[in-house]
């Protein structure tokens, strides 16, 4: 199994840390992982993205141009990454702020209203965990228990009290995600 994922959105949406938790979860499940961010000053106000690869084998190139799954959280990223999903692959997106919805027919498309849900839950910080839940529901490549272990590893000890809330958000996300009907 090798899963190549791109997560892309605005700088402030927690894109990088979502990728990090996912990667850490992969480690907890005994897999090989890589996490490669876009970096540098262009992140300022602009977009951020990260490539996460989770695999049973040693990962050769951490840089890939086509993905099994794209998780897309703003319009710019939609414009840039919809086309990079492999035929038969998966695209998950939050429709909030999206003006041009995805149109490919050769991939599976899911939507998740994570922005709204996070606002409902009164905590915009868990937005990315909701999205992560959505992904895990579509692609259950790591078990929830390992995701929780991944959270423990990637959060500093003083934030461990937030784990239950994050777990909740992931579970909500798992429910929330739904196939997009074009």
């Amino acid at each position: 199994m090798t899963e190549e994922i791109i997560i892309a959105g605005f700088g402030g949406q927690g894109v990088l840390s979502m990728g990090k938790i996912l990667a850490y979860s992969g480690i907890m499940q005994g897999k090989e992982v890589s996490w490669m961010p876009s970096y540098g000053p262009e992140m300022r106000g602009g977009t951020a993205n990260v490539t996460v690869i989770i695999s049973d084998e040693r990962i050769s190139s951490p840089i890939v141009n086509v993905f099994d799954t794209a998780i897309i959280l703003n319009q710019q990223s939609m414009d840039k990454f919809e086309k990079t999903v492999k035929p038969g692959g998966v695209l998950i997106y939050d429709p909030n702020g999206i003006t041009r919805h995805p149109s490919r027919k050769d991939i599976k498309i899911y939507s998740i209203e994570a922005t709204d849900e996070a606002t409902n839950m009164g905590n915009t910080k868990i937005f990315n965990m909701i999205v992560l839940g959505g992904f895990l529901s579509v692609k259950p490549i790591v078990k929830l228990e390992n995701v929780i272990k991944g959270l423990e590893k990637s959060l500093p000890a003083r934030h461990h009290k937030l784990i239950p809330m994050n777990q909740k958000a992931i579970e909500v996300g798992m429910e929330l995600v739904k196939e997009y009907m074009g």
């Binding site: 992982v33 890589s34 490669m36 961010p37 951490p62």
Partner: protein
């Protein structure tokens, strides 16, 4: 088994420095390697191992702080990225001339000039042939994973003392910025000052009554003596070539064609090898781990086996010269690589192989 962590290459390097018992780090921020200093500052090793960590006023100051530390027998580390490394060239030449231990990390970005901050491999010449003046060489290691960003600190430490020579770790924005699983080696205690004095009896730790004074210098106004000194350096470099060449071979046993690459390009080439094998092309990869000393001997051997070699590097073609010099015209050698911060894909590498070598 050591501790498992998900880390950036830069962080793994920094953590490994602490664990390896490095004595001091002096550096100046620059993308894409600022995490080295940031990580060190967040760990405060000066409170645990006693390692000195200081943000210098410039790269020039940092390399000269390293000169001071190395002269006293300590193991200093500095890191930067391309433009900052260029500023260190005078200091590097001094340190090589004075024969001091040092680890320098270059997390290469696109150039020339300010260029961009994306990954590149266009500082190969500078690292291997002498960006500074005079006849000197660095021992150059090219990690291609986060794991190696950690592990190579230990090799670098060993080589820095074995040869009393600066060691460069030539990395790039990919390896520096990406996170991978790392198994961290167990911490090695920093040497006490007594141990430093024992390991480096030549160092300037204060003249003891029982020994002559120690002098650290790269100056010899008498050219005949200076020449002898340079010959002594040359002998060290030859010894490196004999004893400490490092490389890795992937699918070379039956290879008819060979990719030669290092660092993150080697990772991409690994995938290209997979793709080629899927198509039935017997492609292998020689990954140079030491860029100086270069694995020329092994390449010469392989040139009797394969039909052609493609040197793949993210530059206009620099390592390719060393490949050509190694294979002695026995097989065609070509270069492929994107540059300026653009990363070539495994597919592009394979296409290049087909068009330039297989034909």
């Amino acid at each position: 088994m050591g501790e498992l962590r998900l880390m950036k290459g830069n962080e793994a390097f920094a953590e490994a420095c602490i664990r390896a018992g490095v004595d001091a780090y002096f550096g100046y921020p620059i993308t894409p390697q600022s995490e080295v200093l940031e990580y060190l500052m967040s760990q405060k090793p000066y409170e645990t191992t006693g390692m000195v960590v200081l943000q210098a006023e410039s790269e020039v100051a940092a390399i000269n702080m390293c000169y001071g530390a190395g002269g006293a027998g300590f193991l200093p580390v500095t890191s930067s990225s391309s433009p900052g490394i260029s500023l260190k060239m005078e200091g590097v030449s001094y340190i090589a001339g004075a024969e001091l231990p040092l680890i320098i990390l270059n997390v290469v970005r696109g150039g020339p000039g300010l260029g961009d901050i994306q990954p590149a491999q266009s500082d190969y010449f500078q690292a291997t042939k002498g960006g500074g003046h005079g006849d000197y060489r660095l021992y150059v290691l090219a990690p291609s994973s986060v794991q190696e960003m950690a592990d190579f600190v230990l090799i670098a430490k060993e080589m820095a003392f074995k040869y009393r020579n600066p060691v460069m770790i030539l990395s790039d924005g990919i390896i520096g910025q990406m996170m991978e699983k790392v198994e961290l080696f167990d911490p090695i205690p920093r040497r006490t000052i007594q141990e430093v004095e024992k390991q480096a009896p030549w160092a300037t730790t204060g003249k003891k009554a029982n020994r002559e004074r120690n002098i650290i210098t790269s100056l010899d106004l008498d050219p005949l003596k200076q020449e002898q000194h340079v010959y002594h350096l040359r002998d060290k470099y030859s010894q490196m070539e004999r004893e400490d060449v490092r490389f890795e071979e992937i699918s070379t046993e039956d290879a008819e064609y060979l990719l030669v690459a290092y660092g993150s390009s080697a990772r991409i080439c690994q995938k290209a090898v997979d793709l080629a094998r899927e198509e039935g092309i017997k492609l292998g990869l020689l990954r140079a781990i030491t860029l100086f000393p270069f694995p020329s001997k092994r390449l010469a051997e392989l040139s009797n086996q394969v039909k052609g070699m493609l040197a793949v590097e993210m530059s206009l073609g620099q390592m390719v010269e060393d490949v050509k010099l190694a294979v002695n015209c026995r097989v065609p050698v070509e270069h492929y690589g994107r540059t300026g911060g653009v990363i070539h894909s495994p597919v592009e590498v394979l296409e290049a192989l087909k068009s330039k070598i297989i034909k």
